[in-house]
Symmetry: C4
Subunit: 321 residues, 4 copies
């Protein structure tokens, strides 16, 4: 396996924060969605657990399931406690059978936990009253927590950006350019957007396999506003780390484009960041992105078609890669 070194003029990037020793790391650096391809071990379960962030980032249906399940469990627990104390300490019960009594204790618990407190069933005596008081307190604190979590889930600043599925090698200005594009898919517009692209290669250096990182300069890397799609363009000039690389060179050196986007989101009034990654398997050679927007019928506004983000059309390259 002979791996090609990029031309000397390419600009090495030593500030990626990623490891250079291929013997230590495995697989691509970032997954397609930009999440680092790293598993953490060696931390005790509780130290590693970041409950809050798990609850913030899990899918909505999971989050709601967790709440309902917790509600069920806590009522089960308190129902048992009330039964232990004795159902004669719960006034107003109409149940007769044991299972009915358990049901009434369970729903008394639910009425206490949610602080509805209809009062038909109500605690009598010290133990039952104390338990009910504490349950109401715990109930309120639980809902305080849920309030914060719901707010945190919705209000968390995020970059509402989608990236095209592929990076294209496009005929451009009598040469070849690498292009990918992105689009804000909600009304969260970004200002002062900056994009950085880094190329990661696994190449041989002084007899050892190394991860090497190179800057990929862009034609335009900054934008005052990002209100529609934006195509990022890296021209393969003599200064490009990909200059002289064939498709096979890229595959064998496990080429990966690491994308970093930073901008100021107007809705959140907050800086947001986004990451993406294009592995050599996601490169398309000889193609061009299809247009994504056009004027409306009376030419007073622009219509943006988000669903065309990934669309490209074949285009012959001036050279064979």
């Amino acid at each position: 396996m002979l791996l090609k070194n990029p031309n000397k003029k390419a600009q090495v990037n030593n500030e990626t924060g990623l490891g250079t020793n291929t013997a230590l790391s495995g697989g691509r650096f970032f997954n397609k969605n930009g999440v680092p391809n790293i598993e953490v071990s060696g931390l005790p379960f509780w130290g590693r657990l970041n409950v809050y962030h798990s609850l913030l980032s899990m899918a909505t249906w999971k989050f709601i399931s967790v709440i309902f399940f917790f509600f069920f469990l806590i009522n089960l627990l308190f129902a048992c406690i009330y039964l232990l104390i004795g159902t004669d300490h719960l006034g107003g019960m109409v149940a007769i059978s044991a299972s009915e009594r358990f049901g009434e204790a369970f729903f008394f618990s639910a009425q206490t936990f949610t602080t509805v407190g209809y009062g038909r069933i109500n605690p009598i005596g010290f133990s039952a009253s104390l338990t009910a008081s504490l349950e109401a307190l715990i109930g309120l604190m639980s809902f305080a927590l849920v309030t914060g979590l719901l707010y945190g889930r919705f209000a968390r600043p995020r970059a509402y950006i989608r990236f095209s599925k592929n990076a294209l090698f496009v005929p451009f200005k009598e040469g070849v350019a690498v292009m990918f594009r992105m689009v804000p898919y909600t009304k969260n517009y970004l200002m002062n957007v900056e994009v950085k692209v880094t190329l990661a290669l696994k190449i041989e250096e002084e007899g050892q396999m190394k991860n090497k990182f190179f800057n990929m300069p862009l034609e335009i890397a900054k934008a005052t506003t990002m209100t529609a799609n934006w195509t990022l363009v890296h021209m393969i000039t003599e200064e490009s780390p990909l200059y002289g690389f064939s498709k096979e060179d890229m595959n064998r050196s496990g080429a990966e484009l690491l994308i970093f986007v930073q901008g100021f989101d107007e809705s959140f009034s907050n800086t947001v960041v986004s990451r993406a990654s294009y592995s050599y398997e996601e490169f398309v050679y000889g193609a061009r992105f299809a247009p994504m927007y056009h004027p409306n019928a009376d030419n007073t506004s622009t219509i943006l078609h988000i669903d065309k983000l990934d669309d490209y059309i074949a285009a012959e390259l001036p050279v064979k890669l």
Copy 2:
């Protein structure tokens, strides 16, 4: 239609993030209030929907209406469920007629959803108790959500800035300057304010209509604090993209001034941004802004008149535009 190119000395701005192909876009770039003039299509309804941000940005009366309407709907739904279960499972009802029974079920639902739970009417048996428990849980989660939304609505950092309605062409230092002004209209003062102005023109280049963007340098573009009105001044010098432009040139090339303001709001302790746009239809030729502030009676403080923001007085230009 022959369109004029700006003088060669004007500074082109390629980092606006706006499209350059007039055949693809329609209308002005930003509406008067700074919102991008873009419609989004091609996303499935749910993917495009950003419920949270809709609820955050809608008018207060609409937001309150949504809550009341949701409250009505959810009680209607639960009232039906209680009726299906059977009103004999709701103890304490005094209603006799069917419509009265529905009313009691509806208001029992409301008492449960809000967790008031007077208890005169109360659930008896498994189905009714379970439904009531879940309704109370859903009620609490709904109010948790409303808590977050209300906080989000009030606490969202925004630039409390108003812009003058028009951009004026003003006689200034033996020449002509383009001026507009802005003012903070609440006690939210900004620090480290920066203003950028970009001129957008639709002009012919190599036989094609293109959107071209030019920097409009300002006399003073930064301010340590913005505590009162601030008039932004672009002098039409030989370096200005508007040098030599007549009123008709501006109209025909659809001239649009894009304004970007960024600052640090002291109350929010947050960076805020604001955008505005002056289309050629909002230009006034030969005018001067009226003063907006003066000392108070005993000269110990300054009084700022927000309502004079748009006021201008006629002023003859040294040259005919």
Copy 3:
């Protein structure tokens, strides 16, 4: 009244964002506490009103009073509605006299608004039930609002900095320096602190009175961390705008030092800013700040005396100002 111009070498600051026309403004620019000395007029009451920020920034006792008063008013209102509907629609009342009936209606309202809902008194019939439902809804929304306000009040990032009462003219390095100091008075430490000082003078220029602003360069204007007191030092060199100024010159030109501090607060993880102002009346000529900290008994830690912030001791100046 003959006013002295600062020496030509002084660095003019045109980016203060403050007005230069003394005929238009009155008094000092910032009050002692850094709040701009400006009154706003000409806005309709509701447009100017920023209820949220008023509630956020008012004193705690005022805020609590507002809540209690609102609670009283809303219960008064609903008590009247229940009386209008008729107290026979409130079941369980034990009151007999009219005033007692009003009391029961008032407290039924309170029990509904807070969602306690004991249920001894409970609504019967459509009108009373509907009113009670809406009151419970309004109650929950009010507490949702209060939750947000309380959080906003406590969590709002602020610079917990105190400034010395006076700016001192201190004998320093065979010359004179202007000094003031500041200290973080809670455990909110700042990082990457920057201080800017601007001198404002009212002087005559081309026959007109003008506000002029000058940079006041500091010996050290940045600090990686601010964990204890920090004395800011402006040496009166030949480049200083105060070079050659006598005490009387300063008084007659209404000298005012405008202080801007910016830093990153570790507790809030947020940038915070602070402003202060020293008017010529707050200058002390010939003094030196007293030390504010010393090692503890066993020399393992440092003790900081916040109450010594304003303390200074007389020190003869090498020249008479």
Copy 4:
């Protein structure tokens, strides 16, 4: 005690914000965990107290204890008030003995404070009703506060970074380098990370003991992303302030490395900072960090061992320090 001055080529850092007078300060500058080694005095208790931040930063079990204790105290208080008003104003009580009556009053209070309001016991008459209304109001406000505090505790942006226990003196490139390392221990990845290292020495200058601060340039001080461990390297070259220093020199001058880390946390979408400090007692001479990560079994991902953060292996230095 003769203390050695660093070589002249070392870069002095006057912008640390730390005091230079050793006679005024005691002990190390920052404790091992990065918290400033300063005690504050001279503020009245209430002025110094920052209740919110205490409640935000205390351990979780303490925070919960505070809430339960407050709940107990407030119910005790209101129970006394209800007893003062007279238990005949609490309808529905079944208690007979004085202690039972106190218990019923206490739990009635708890039911009111949590707004459960079962209603078996309910207030009758003006005084009891008023007290109960106010208690419910105070209860709701308390839970509003707890909601904010819980959210604040979880949502507060923090740098989830751990630092190695020791700073190592490592044989490196035919010389010696000072190294320490850090690792993000949750899934909170940082972007645009910057590290600054400052050396603090207590040395004699012009016959006086002074704190002197020097920059410690790093081989690589910035990283676009920090997804795994990062070893910071300061090479002891001729420009290093430690050039020519022996172990004894470092001990006698109380050498302390002050570490400042700043980055943008993706989960919080917020800038976070972290501080650490290595005192001369935490230096290890002649060692090398053990690897912390390796590929997974099928080489598709990288596994990071957080528990190896502090591990080092002995390594002979080319020179004796």
